[in-house]
């Protein structure tokens, strides 16, 4: 690991300024992703601005919305009574991620901003446009079994690894941000970006912008929800594919649906067309299969991830079945 400076401001403004002023400074929250990347030589910030003293851990349910502070721990959010009551899909998604120990360290903000697990990104002896723009994408013609089937570019085919974010994008969350130029709100679907020609940029955040909270509006999806994550072991592995499904049922008729995929794109992948397809239809496996076909439109595979073209729709069907039965 390289030498670095470390500061731990107790004022939000000081933290923002420290990062905004210094191109080589970065925030650190739980450190469960950043420290690994520093140890592997993938990231080498010269200054760490520890935000753990900022008062951003609260979880509040105000009329109409849930507000989760950026420093609320993944485990705290998943255990919170209000979250469990109002957003059970989010609870399932968080608990499907990492391990209990990691969720005890990982923060809400850090989880959204964790970087891809593409093995080429992690190995400094390999080419990777995200780590070192211009070196080429190692995965494009390499071992790309974990990689994207939607929204990729020829510069990068990585996927975003967060489970929590898949639920948040489905649930129309909003990210609250504070930066050198003031505060702003970002629709969750606009937080992460597609790689295009600049895969080194994961998100639409500006330098020095701090995530302070995430808001999830109340919704009718409090019962028929499922986050189904398919991975190579029963727990503690990143998704091959995951699907978030939330249904509002009137008897067996679907009044509204929220759907998203994880493990398929550079960002959590909202499935708006499939949601619309489901409205007014009966909650049957047949309908779910048709919706999954809609969801898969535009998908394209690489040499080693062709299975995702079958696994993704099937996982969505499974999630919808689980949600219906819940």
């Amino acid at each position: 690991m390289n030498q670095f400076q470390y500061v731990r401001p107790s004022k939000q403004q000081a933290a923002i300024e420290a990062v905004a002023k210094d191109a080589n400074a970065t925030f650190i929250a739980g450190g469960t992703n950043l420290v690994d990347l520093m140890k592997r030589g993938v990231m080498a910030p010269q200054k760490l601005v520890d935000i753990n003293r900022l008062p951003l851990t609260r979880i509040d349910h105000d009329p109409g919305k849930l507000r989760i502070g950026a420093l609320a721990l993944n485990s705290a959010v998943a255990d919170d009574k209000q979250v469990r009551e109002h957003q059970p899909l989010l609870v399932q998604a968080i608990n499907a991620g990492a391990s209990a120990q990691l969720r005890n360290m990982a923060t809400t903000g850090g989880n959204m901003l964790q970087r891809t697990r593409c093995p080429y990104f992690y190995d400094t002896a390999m080419p990777c446009n995200k780590r070192e723009p211009g070196t080429g994408c190692g995965a494009l013609e390499g071992i790309n079994r974990m990689h994207a089937i939607f929204g990729f570019s020829d510069k990068c085919i990585a996927v975003h690894p967060s489970d929590m974010s898949v639920a948040l994008v489905a649930l129309d969350a909003t990210v609250l941000v504070s930066g050198p130029r003031g505060d702003r709100r970002i629709a969750f679907a606009d937080l992460h970006r597609l790689p295009g020609d600049t895969p080194e940029k994961d998100t639409t955040l500006e330098p020095g912008e701090l995530i302070t909270a995430v808001e999830v509006p109340d919704n009718p999806f409090t019962k028929h929800v499922s986050y189904h994550k398919v991975r190579e072991r029963a727990s503690y592995a990143f998704a091959l594919v995951s699907a978030a499904a939330a249904l509002d049922l009137d008897g067996s008729t679907i009044k509204a649906a929220r759907l998203a995929f994880g493990g398929v794109a550079h960002k959590p992948w909202r499935l708006t067309a499939a949601e619309q397809f489901l409205v007014g239809k009966p909650a049957t496996e047949e309908t779910f299969k048709q919706a999954a076909t809609v969801a898969m439109q535009g998908a394209k595979a690489f040499k080693h991830n062709e299975y995702k073209l079958r696994l993704a729709p099937n996982t969505l069907v499974q999630a919808l079945k689980n949600a219906t039965a819940a």
Binding site: N2, M126, V230, S235, L240, K321
Partner: protein
């Protein structure tokens, strides 16, 4: 043998359990020596070629750096004779990698430099500053290419009787004309041992010709021999300490470049050097289960008698060292079949050398054979257990000898009953629970009941404690505990009065921990040493006490503070008095296998594993919901540690069946699955409560204890049991492990 046994067969807790769970057990990396320095290896980033230059200037100038050693400035190692110079020998027989000895790169992440600094952090930092330039050559890491150039192992060419040489009984390839015929290919990917404890060594030159190493090794004697040879030292001048080993599964059965590097570094900086591999380096520097291709041809008569089996296997090895294992052995001896032939080949690639991984080749081979058995049973429309019974053999078909003991039928019966085999349906895909399909499968394992020679030291202390010493290591199976039990029963003492010390090359010589042979081998040495101790003490007591002089050694009884005689409690010789004349010293005994019996019998341990799996047909997720493992391993010395062994092996088998695999990017000859986030081993949620059943019948011929060995059979046969259960659940036959969701959707 008199009926022993208060301790043997008990569930005595591990003698070192408390030390381990409280963190008081000292592992190789945890020793602190004055003046310690820390080494970090720099690996090559190409798979084949020449190192043109290494720029170490920045690293050398970095704070705290004591040395940067490369092949340009490495101290010469006397044992590193040049390789490849004898054109009559194949390149693949060059032996262990000679680190920093030449400019050749033979695999990706080969150590090309070691950085030594006064702290670990400084060494790590400086290691990143070392830059190498290469003259790259075209490498080959693709198994498909290796298979096209597969060759007969040199060992087999030199010795046609060798276990890896071609074998024919009856007619070769006779399956081709059989009535019911099967031909199928099976593939095992490269698997990595990944024990919890990283490979670690502390090298300390106590004098220019005296080396002490604290090392993660499975064999203190073998490690001593290797490094004494490497440095041209008498073996007594090298001391190897490996008291605690945090799992190894075979990867500490060989001496590796990082060990040589640490010793070289310590020589150079003249301080003790500690070197711990990173998790990533565990993939490239300390062996692995080789990627293996296999083909089984099998034929049977319509009534379910196997008429012929052909088993071909090609395992991956490195370009500089031939690694072979007994992949095809089980096929030769497991089932009656008049025609059996095996062919074992190697594929040399630009990778590091593989090494035995638990169950080694036998586990790889059993995946092919036991999957094929299931496939054939399916073709015959027979229950796979019934099919195995129809081909059961009461003598060794490979050589016609009787078995020393075999209770496999008993295992079949116990296991089938416990798993509920009767629920299994012949037709795949017949059982369902909600969204999940249910299937049952079985797999058989066998491993030679090996016994070697071993010594043991024993002495009595004045306080009545008996101390035993052996150079053997305990890599987790509970060797120390088993030996304590054997000594306790032989001496008639409670286990608290026994202190078994192990893991030091200066103790009585013992073989390397491996091949399930330690209880078989060191157990008798401990037993015989204890009997010798009794006799020695009786003689000593007899000098002044007629009752002892005329007594038999079997009648000697150890009381709390004195020696006495069975049936004559008035005869007493206090330990303090006895040991006044002489300090007693160690009695050393050497125990050897019974040569004649070895010739007369075929000796094997057996296991059978029964799996119940649930498969989600939509997502391809597989869960092992029940696993029953039954073993015929002779006498079970400790029900608890033996049970642990079986459970650990079963969980390893789940890993092999469902998730363990490395992936190589052949364009770079470099692995992309290097850490434990990418290389999946089972977590708790993957493992059901494994049920273990032992026949627990002593083998009359392996040794006086009746043991046969457990470590390997615990895993051999597990992977095919699961693969067969997946077939029974889904009708999908996966012949390339692991069975990940992508292969089932």
């Amino acid at each position: 043998m008199k009926p022993l046994s208060k301790q043997i067969g008990s569930t005595l807790n591990r003698v070192d359990g408390h030390l381990k769970v409280t963190g008081a057990a000292t592992y190789s990396a945890e020793y602190e020596l004055p003046g310690m320095s820390y080494a970090v290896l720099v690996g090559s980033t190409i798979a084949k070629g020449r190192i043109k230059s290494i720029d170490a200037r920045a690293a050398e100038k970095a704070p705290g750096v004591l040395a940067v050693i490369t092949h340009f400035n490495s101290p010469k190692v006397p044992g590193f004779t040049p390789t490849g110079k004898d054109p009559s020998q194949p390149q693949t027989t060059g032996g262990r990698l000679k680190v920093f000895n030449d400019d050749k790169v033979r695999f990706n992440d080969q150590p090309i430099a070691v950085v030594v600094a006064d702290t670990l952090e400084r060494a790590r930092f400086a290691a990143r500053l070392v830059k190498a330039e290469y003259e790259q050559e075209k490498h080959e890491t693709d198994m498909a290419a290796g298979l096209r150039q597969a060759f007969v192992p040199t060992q087999a060419k030199k010795n046609p009787k060798s276990g890896v040489a071609d074998y024919v009984r009856g007619t070769a390839d006779a399956y081709k004309t059989g009535a019911v015929k099967l031909e199928a290919e099976y593939v095992i990917p490269t698997e990595v041992h990944h024990p919890m404890e990283l490979q670690a060594i502390i090298a300390h030159w106590e004098a220019p010709d005296r080396l002490t190493i604290y090392d993660k090794t499975q064999g203190t004697m073998a490690t001593r021999r290797d490094f004494a040879k490497e440095w041209g030292l008498p073996e007594e001048n090298v001391k190897v300490i490996a008291t605690f080993v945090g799992g190894a599964f075979g990867n500490a059965l060989h001496s590796w470049p990082h060990e040589s590097a640490a010793i070289i570094a310590a020589r150079q900086v003249k301080r003790p050097v500690k070197l711990v591999l990173t998790r990533e380096q565990m993939t490239t520097m300390v062996g692995y289960r080789p990627h293996t291709w296999q083909k089984i041809g099998m034929s049977a008569s319509p009534d379910g008698k196997i008429t012929a089996i052909t088993h071909e296997a090609t395992g991956q090895t490195s370009s500089y060292e031939e690694f072979t294992e007994s992949t095809v052995q089980q096929t030769r001896m497991m089932y009656t079949a008049p025609n059996v032939n095996t062919r074992y080949r190697l594929a040399a690639l630009d990778v590091s050398t593989p090494i035995w991984m638990r169950g080694p080749g036998e586990a790889t081979g059993a995946f092919a054979l036991e999957s094929a058995m299931d496939e054939m049973a399916h073709l015959l429309n027979l229950d796979p257990l019934e099919f195995r019974l129809r081909n059961y053999t009461d003598k060794d078909p490979e050589n016609g000898k009787p078995w020393s003991s075999k209770f496999l039928k008993e295992c079949y019966q116990m296991g089938a009953e416990r798993i509920g085999w009767s629920k299994r349906q012949l037709k795949p895909g017949s059982l369902r629970d909600g969204d999940w399909l249910i299937g049952y499968g079985m797999g058989v394992g066998t491993f030679g009941a090996h016994r070697g020679s071993s010594k043991a030291n024993v002495r009595l202390l004045p306080n009545g404690t008996v101390v035993l010493q052996s150079a053997v290591t305990d890599i987790g199976p509970g060797t120390g505990t088993a030996m304590t039990q054997i000594a306790a029963d032989t001496l008639g003492l409670p286990p608290e009065k026994i202190r078994f010390e192990w893991g030091n090359s200066e103790f009585a010589p013992a073989p390397t921990q491996g091949g399930s042979a330690i209880v078989n081998t060191v157990g008798p040495a401990v037993q015989e040493a204890c009997l010798a101790l009794k006799e020695k003490l009786r003689t000593m007591a007899g000098a002044s006490n007629a009752a002892f002089a005329s007594a038999r050694k079997e009648d000697v009884v150890f009381a709390d503070k004195y020696l006495t005689l069975n049936g004559n409690d008035t005869a007493r010789a206090s330990y303090a008095d006895l040991l006044k004349q002489t300090d007693g010293g160690f009695v050393t005994v050497e125990s050897k296998p019974n040569g004649e019996n070895g010739q007369k019998y075929s000796m094997y341990s057996y296991s059978v594993h029964f799996a119940e799996v649930r498969v989600n047909p939509l997502t391809g997720e597989v869960r092992v919901s029940k696993l029953v493992s039954c073993a015929d391993a002779g006498t079970i010395v400790n029900q608890k540690t033996a049970g642990n062994q079986m459970k650990g092996g079963a969980v390893g088998g789940i890993g092999m069946a469902l998730m363990e695999a490395t992936h190589m990017d052949d364009r770079f000859g470099r692995y992309v699955t290097k850490d434990l986030a990418d290389y999946h081993v089972p977590v708790q949620a993957d493992a059901p409560a494994v049920e273990v059943l032992f026949v627990n019948q002593p083998d009359p011929h392996v040794n006086a204890l009746g043991t046969k060995g457990i470590g390997e059979i615990a895993i051999i046969g597990v992977a095919p049991a699961i693969a067969n259960a997946v077939f029974n659940a889904t009708g999908k036959r996966v012949r390339e492990l692991p069975i990940t969701p992508d292969k089932l959707v």
